[in-house]
């Protein structure tokens, strides 16, 4: 069993301990989940500083909602759905305050790159191409290829069906290839 699989197996037990009031379980959950969540939030916000703020808020929300984790269910979709919701709420609040978020291509931070397309061009080109993808397609690629979630789990995070997640991922990869200019494999 690989290290990541072992950690995946431990997550439900950690959640149980966390629900039981174990502070060490919270520390360990943070250690295990924070890097991936930060990457995910960064891919949504394209702003490292904002992603870090949202990461903290995500863990605060996760803490408040810890009772809602249902035993026996995978932890990651639950956590990522909360993180995504925090991002959406923050974005909505910013829009209401009239603060428009302008994304400048040159200022885009590191966006995780799916291994399927990494070999197609240099990292910088792929990063820029990925940044040009529509949010919904990029999000599926990040969750599936980088965070290692199954399409079923991706669907649970995004509130779409497993099939819809697969279609979005496929279209995302095709579009990435088109942007990079390597064509679509038959």
């Amino acid at each position: 069993m690989s290290e990541s699989e072992r950690v995946e197996d431990e997550l439900p037990l950690l959640m149980l301990a966390y629900q039981g009031g174990d502070a060490l379980a919270f520390d360990y959950l943070y250690t295990v989940l924070a890097p991936g969540l930060l990457g995910y939030l960064q891919s949504l916000t394209r702003d490292r500083g904002r992603a870090e703020d949202l990461l903290q808020e995500t863990f605060m929300q996760l803490h408040k909602a810890r009772a809602t984790y249902l035993h026996g269910r995978p932890v990651k979709p639950w956590v990522y759905a909360i993180a995504r919701n925090v991002f959406l709420m923050q974005r909505r609040a910013a829009t209401r305050r009239g603060r428009r978020e302008v994304l400048v291509d040159e200022e885009l931070p590191e966006v995780p790159i799916p291994p399927e397309v990494e070999s197609l061009a240099d990292r910088e080109m792929v990063r820029r191409a990925l940044a040009r993808l529509p949010d919904d397609r990029r999000e599926v690629l990040v969750l599936h290829h980088i965070m290692g979630m199954s399409f079923k789990e991706v669907g649970a995070v995004l509130g779409i069906s497993e099939g819809a997640a697969k279609v979005r991922a496929h279209r995302g990869v095709v579009q990435l290839r088109e942007i990079i200019g390597v064509g679509v494999e038959p």
Binding site: R73, P74, K76, N85, M89, R97
Partner: protein, 231 residues
């Protein structure tokens, strides 16, 4: 554990200060049973208080109690979906939510259609002397407790799409109320059933949706303020 991966001290302090054991939520199906209890109670008490519809003998057991129980069960199932939608990462998704809304409307319409077909021929005359607004109000009174209980259960679970969860909660409550009132309402014209009874259910869906929107606004303000504070 590397320094970089540790929770920030401020976050850790806030969490530790509130780190009491919590009882995990029961599954959505089991929580829906709490709403089912209201349905059973209303199903037994309402006909006893208002009297069962006078054409019950003509309609037969299936089109009276059978149809009522069917709608109440459908309502409880939809409530279960609302509660499932409310749990982060377990949502049923928009497509299934829309399918549930359509299915709920289909169940209520089917009951209305069958009641109209099986009802007495003089139904139109009865309808003249019966106020549709009364049915609308009574269904509202029967559905509101179910809606409020469901919304309370939905909010406990931190829904990520509250308007959808609220709309489903409203549909569940609306179906339940229509099922109960079906045992009492003496009118079986299609127009009355679709217009007034249907409107009561639609209103319940609307109220649930608006409660979800209001809750989402509140949380958006809270989260926006907290993140804004940190920036």
């Amino acid at each position: 554990m590397s320094e970089r991966m540790r929770p920030p001290e401020r976050l850790r302090r806030a969490v530790i200060a509130d780190l009491k054991p919590v009882k995990p939520l029961r599954s959505p199906g089991r929580r829906a049973l709490e709403v089912a209890l209201w349905g059973v109670f209303a199903l037994l008490v309402t006909p006893a208080v208002f009297g069962i519809r006078h054409d019950a003998a003509l309609l037969g057991i299936m089109l009276t109690w059978g149809a009522a129980v069917l709608e109440v069960v459908a309502g409880v199932l939809v409530v279960g979906l609302a509660l499932r939608e409310a749990v982060p990462g377990s949502g049923i998704g928009r497509r299934r939510a829309v399918a549930a809304l359509v299915a709920g409307a289909a169940v209520q319409s089917a009951v209305a259609l069958l009641t109209w077909m099986g009802g007495p021929p003089s139904a139109a005359a009865q309808a003249m002397s019966h106020s549709g607004a009364k049915c609308f109000a009574m269904q509202g009174m029967l559905g509101l407790p179910a809606l409020m209980l469901t919304v309370f259960l939905v909010v406990q679970a931190l829904p990520v799409r509250p308007p959808w969860a609220g709309a489903l909660a409203g549909l569940g409550a609306g179906l339940l109320a229509d099922g109960v009132w079906h045992l009492v309402c003496p009118v079986c014209t299609l127009r009355h059933l679709l217009l007034w009874h249907g409107a009561a259910t639609v209103a319940m869906v609307g109220v649930g949706f608006l409660l979800g929107v209001a809750w989402e606004h509140r949380r958006t303000r809270q989260v926006g303020a907290l993140v804004g504070e940190r920036r």
